[in-house]
């Protein structure tokens, strides 16, 4: 089994690349691979808890919780996140907060890296 380090930069709402990243992570972990996800840029807005799932918009929270439960390591860029007005206590449980070197550390150990750029 391999290690996949995903980087996800697009926003949860307004860009379906985010949905792609989460679906790919789920498919990979379901096949037994080790998966990590790094959120940077607008993707960091998705780590706020208590998201309301309106049908016109993608939702992140329930998928992120499910991925964390399956052992996917998820980390948000702290600077990007607080810049969007989200503080740690408001974050989804199980999502880590760190700086950009967290992603480079995961990349160091990864067999495959997919960086999904944002807006």
């Amino acid at each position: 089994m391999g290690k996949l380090a995903l980087g996800c930069y697009p926003g949860l709402v307004g860009n379906m690349s985010y949905d792609f990243a989460l679906k790919l992570a789920d498919a990979a972990v379901s096949k037994g691979h080790t998966v990590s996800i790094w959120f940077s840029g607008n993707a960091t807005g998705s780590v706020k808890s208590h998201q309301k799932h309106l049908k016109d918009y993608s939702t992140g929270e329930k998928h992120l919780l499910a991925l964390v439960a399956k052992g996917v390591e998820i980390c948000t860029c702290e600077a990007c996140t607080v810049a969007r007005g989200i503080q740690k206590p408001e974050g989804i449980e199980g999502v880590q907060w760190n700086a950009m070197h967290w992603y480079l550390g995961k990349i160091h150990a990864a067999d495959r890296v997919l960086l999904i750029g944002g807006e």
Partner: protein, 98 residues
Amino acid sequence: MKLGVFVSDFKLTVDTLDRLKAEKLGLILVQNGVYHATTKENGKASSLLEKTPNLYALSDDIQIRGLKVTDVDKRVKVVNYSDIVDLIFNDYDKVAWL
């Protein structure tokens, strides 16, 4: 290098893609990239389909757009997320998202 490239746009990424060289190149058409597999512009199929024989398109992203698997160019293999995971780990040593 064996490079798998995710093509997520119909037009925007062709310039970069034209220049990429790999001993084995795979194009994985996702999001609006699937139009390369389904749409003929002025009657012509996308020139991207001539770049490599290793062409894939994500079934979810075809169907969400109201397109059918039968609309897909015969050179392109329709895959699901699980297949893409296998492509990433088994067929290519590097992957990139355009």
